[in-house]
Subunit: 344 residues, 4 copies
């Protein structure tokens, strides 16, 4: 039985575990004020080609999203997000529990455009009774999106330009950032994100770490008191060095990028196999998540030896499913799956 | 210049002002614990044909909605509402500020169906990761809706039956309740609402009062500690008797119903005039709000002597507008408007 | 039976009611955008000797406090307040429900000092783990306090100077402001408050109005989007002119000050009577609330003809009680009470 | 340099790290629905001598406290806690950010009594205007307390009986639970906590784990939808098995108790040394935290080779300091410290 259900089925990359072993008996300060967090932050600053950014380490994605968003917005403001955005669908109302409406924008494949942002903004401010409505206060996007899709450098630059013009901080959720950056279709690097967002995070949980998300605040206006917010929202890890050690390892000699590339490569082999078999792809993903539309009988057959997620029903006889690869996916698992697809 | 822009442009029905004058120097307990609130509550109980209900008086609609909803839900629950519902659009995120997501259901004319509620509920619970999503916790509807439309007794009964079956309290926003109940198309009475909702409110602000909404909690499970919630959310009026006096007057000898009927009758005359002129009606309203689709040149012409609300653009040459009548609208204003429409 | 229990037992000053009658059939814009709110705001600006302030009208005190405080603070900040402050004791946790801790400072008579504020502030910032604690974000005081006491001009100036130095906006709750300003011991005028606070409000509910509090934002940094906050917290009155009309009347020819003076004068006569009788005063109040410590048998005797509030037990045989006068208190009521005290 | 500053300076017990290594490549379901969480939960149920309890695993203490408390309370309710309680002092207002006031009860050594709870409860309900105040809704205590002190079985039983009688769920914060249970002065076992609280948690972070707190909900009325709350508050770990594995290891063959005992034993040796030296103990702690009052010159001398926390100034020439031992403290470190104390 091979699992392609999600990208967090295993533990951590062995180099991370080794590093945790090696440092286990060291005594350090808690709450992220240890040398490992410092070192990891420095590596991230270097990759971002910007010394003047603020880096924090949190445990998980929902926690990171709610901490960032509640840090930025005033009470009457909401966050613009694609309707399929994680904060709008899969965080049990964490943003609303922090007091803010998610201003959902329709999205076919998880992306939104600068024009949509501008249009929502203008609709708000041109309404005579705008004070009776939630004021747009920031923009949330993800890279890659929930659907595995990517923004081009140009698209992101236009979003950022629009956001800056409208006074809306742009926040990029990078829970699967590695898989986005290493995609063959990506023309973005970490330094671009540092230039083209106000705040973003580098996902560790889904890219080789036991857990952890590195928040990068590039806009100095958003730095203030962020550690208070982390603590208040329950995200300040007592043994904060566990996060520092993991990210320090991931950004040592490019490990993060290397293992993400591995997952993307395997996903591309799956993608080719799906297309060769004549399956339609629900989203045009070049990252580690693939969304083929399968005849239901094929789906049942594959279920016997592989786990994957049923995404949605496509029609009476077809379903969209999701296959994920990860840093931990084995070549043999992919090879086996491709053989079985071809044999269907 | 005649105003048809909204139904709260004037002060209060003169009988209310007179009563305020007459009682001005009386000394009573504050915070709604005076004889007038008691008397008004008793009258409402009688009209609801149920002694065993809880009646509270609040100042305004947004305050009432946020107090009721935050009283009913647990933190991880949201409120199902039509996408055009007041709580979803025009309350500056008051519900979210109290911690809860509005689970918007598509609606053409402001109404939602029992089937839509059931379908959203089932979609939630059948999702394997439902704990990652906001749990539906109650249902919000309005009567009449934002679009002037009504539920039939049968539709409401089906909604209630569905809600009860699913364990979802049904809350009815009656900001314009009088105009709904007195519509020629309404087959509902106050006692039906008391049977067919768990909690509803009787709007005073838009139906003859200076301000005030009477909340009726028919489901005893929702009674507990409601006054704490009113106080916490800033809705407990120090001189609470002002609310009691107003509702006591409104429900004396049927004043509330009489003045609402007046508004509805005038609105029906407008409706007929619009139809005779060949205007399409955007929503099929038999209440005090009318939404004709006007050629833009007619709109400009009418603007000279009448104020009304531009609702939305219909096409390049037409706009939907809203005309409201109220308890205070004068026959002569309506007659004048009809003459001018006919002359266009 | 004469009531001295509170200062909101009656309706409104007759000039207010008359004005409501006179304007009842006028049609105006809603939500505070009418000429009466404009006019009342202009009068307040004039009295504050500052055109460059922002004036808003809300319905009640709790609503005002929670709207102001949630407008000023970021999520991790709390509001410094005297332990006996209304927001800390008598608002059902409204401030906490908006997400903020009340940082209570011990207070003997309702007042706090510049030194206490500085000390709390410094204790916070000098603590190595200050990020684990609520950050002081503003200061709340009331004038007069819950105990009827006053700040001198010099005390207030020192508080303001300290607050400004520490970057803490100073908010003054003036629910009973008139009774404070007109006290024989007050050396403050409205224009001083406008200089020496960042935001304050002028209480109407307890000083002649049916209801209403006028919020004055003197610090331009706190102006932004305040109307959104009012709406979101449920405080935007549909028929906003009701507030404008009331404050416009109260500030016409000094009515507000005149009726407050009346109440203070009567309170001073009571104060003298208590002292002549040999009663101790729990708080040294020169405003409309008096707190004598009565032998319990006297208390029981007075109860027969007067209502007043039992404040707390003083010892086995004595109780502190509260007598309030108001704009509506009749001379004869005070004269009768004084006679009966003397006869005890 | 030996560190006695806190009990979370090192990583994890080596058996935990080994287990993480051994299971690293297994593929499991996420979000706590894996076999390790099941197994750990079963072990905890067994130790609690109750199959009918609900066990959940969260990452840290603040997160656990805010998730539990916001799960239990309605919006107008607060949590009774000792004034020195972690939720009142060191969580950056996390409870208030979730909407609830902490109702602080004075406490000399971190403990509160059944009488204090009853008294606060009765003061609330006997106040005529109790609806204007935060309603007590639950009770929070910790074991051991912030000051290292313990409740006896009898004290806890009385607290529980009082809470049950008043309808207040009793929540016990066990961030350092092991060090409490294994104290020579403790007459409590895990099964007693399961009987005598409604909800409690077993701290892992400070007792041998990398991180993790095991929440035990013994009162079935509090079970409902707890996982939604975990997710909403950001506490649902994607790779939830990391928590399961850690607690499964800690409760295998009594490891948790054994390592806690080790720390307590070393702390007792320190305690004896302090007393022999004639130091006063600020709190009478028989657990892993010791609070001796040191002459400042001794303090300065010890600082050269040991780190510890300055708790508070005792007088001009003395300070209270805190020394912590933990599962990781080495005998030689304690021996060295004792030698150096004796030599002062």
């Amino acid at each position: 039985m091979y699992r392609f259900q999600c990208d967090y089925a295993e533990g951590a990359h062995p180099l991370i575990l080794k590093r945790l072993m090696d440092t286990n008996y060291e005594q350090t300060a808690g709450y992220g004020e240890d040398p490992y967090c410092k070192s990891a932050g420095d590596k991230i600053k270097k990759l971002c080609e910007n010394e003047c950014i603020d880096v924090h380490f949190l445990v998980g994605g929902t926690q990171t999203n709610l901490t960032v968003i509640s840090s930025v917005l005033r009470p009457h403001q909401g966050v613009i997000a694609p309707s399929s955005g994680h904060i709008n669908v899969h965080e049990t109302g964490a943003i609303e529990a922090a007091g803010h409406k998610v201003l959902a924008v329709p999205s076919e494949d998880g992306r939104i455009t600068a024009e949509q942002v501008r249009s929502l903004y203008e609709a708000h401010w041109s309404d005579a009774s705008h004070e009776h409505m939630v004021q747009p206060g920031m923009v949330y996007i993800s890279y890659p999106t929930e659907n595995g899709t990517l923004y081009t450098l140009e698209e992101l630059a236009r979003l950022k330009k629009t956001c800056t013009g409208l006074g809306l901080p742009l926040f990029l959720d990078g829970a699967r950032l590695g898989y986005g950056l290493m995609s063959q279709k990506s023309d973005l690097e970490l330094a671009d994100l540092a230039r083209l967002t106000d705040i973003f995070y580098i996902g560790g949980t889904k890219v080789g770490a036991l857990f952890g998300e590195a928040v990068v605040i590039t806009n100095p206006e958003l730095w203030r008191d962020f550690r208070y917010l982390i603590k208040q929202r329950g995200g300040m890890l007592a043994k904060g060095r566990l996060l520092g050690i993991q990210f320090d390892t991931l950004f040592e000699e490019g490990l993060y990028f290397e293992i993400a590339k591995h997952a993307d490569n395997l996903a591309m082999r799956l993608r080719d196999a799906f297309l060769r078999k004549g399956y339609r792809l629900r989203y045009d993903s070049y990252t580690n998540q693939q969304f083929p539309v399968l005849p239901n009988e094929h789906l049942e057959k594959l279920k016997e030896n592989y786990s994957f997620e049923i995404w949605e029903s496509a029609d009476d006889s077809h379903s969209t499913v999701r296959f994920c690869t990860s840093w931990a996916t084995k070549e043999e698992a992919v090879a086996s799956l491709i053989r079985d697809i071809e044999a269907l």
